[in-house]
Chain length 137, copies 2
């Protein structure tokens, strides 16, 4: 049951089933890729970049403790693209852990006003999730 | 000299020097990350996705032969975000090899009309390069 729940938030409901134990075990321990996008206020771009070189060590440590690896943010014009690889087994729980961390909250309070979330983002999102349309290992 | 040239196109000129052999050797063999972005015509999104599941095997093989690994394309609204890791030693030469491949050219002829490159892209670019503002391994 835990494994089924794990897959439920990483795959569309139509794509997963609990009928194949082999498939579930294989999927449950695979790394998941996430792409996300957000706007940045043009007048805040310089400040945003300054903050990210370097990011506070406590914030970096919390990201690592939430099982995220190979995380990058790219900038073009007024758009920020995030790409990360999740190596844990419960993405939602890890995201909740990160959101509850005081230092991370302090960081987000500085970053938030510089960002301009997409109107088309899903409910509850800040950075909008993107659909993976292609992948090559 | 080869190593200096190698670094010249992966780092801004102000960031590299040929005076430290150790640094050059370390940098020359490191993997480089590239983020890129392009628009997609809203009316072509469904067709674009259909083509990418799956991509022609000859095109995938050429990408691999050009030392690219962990390549993903993400979609949000009418934007496509590409993220790749380059594991070779001469990115420009590998890109030229890819551009000269007849099957890749045939693929690009189908993809091109569906895409809408950013006006702000650099000269000679199709997908616009993005600046990496943050990375965590």
């Amino acid at each position: 049951m835990i494994r089924c729940r794990l897959i439920a938030h990483t795959r569309k409901a139509s794509e997963w089933t609990c009928s194949s134990a082999t498939w579930i075990v294989k999927e449950a321990f695979a790394m998941q890729r996430y792409g996300s996008v957000i706007g940045v206020k043009p007048e805040a771009i310089a400040e945003y970049k300054k903050h990210h070189a370097p990011v506070w060590p406590e914030v970096l440590e919390m990201i690592r403790r939430c099982n995220i690896r190979n995380y990058s943010i790219y900038l073009k014009d007024d758009l920020l693209f995030g790409y990360l690889e999740y190596h844990g087994t419960d993405f939602q729980a890890d995201m909740a852990k990160m959101a509850a961390d005081p230092k991370t909250q302090e960081w987000w309070k500085i970053m938030g006003p510089m960002q301009r979330p997409l109107r088309s983002r899903a409910e509850g999102e800040w950075w909008a999730s993107m659909e993976e349309v292609f992948h090559l290992d």
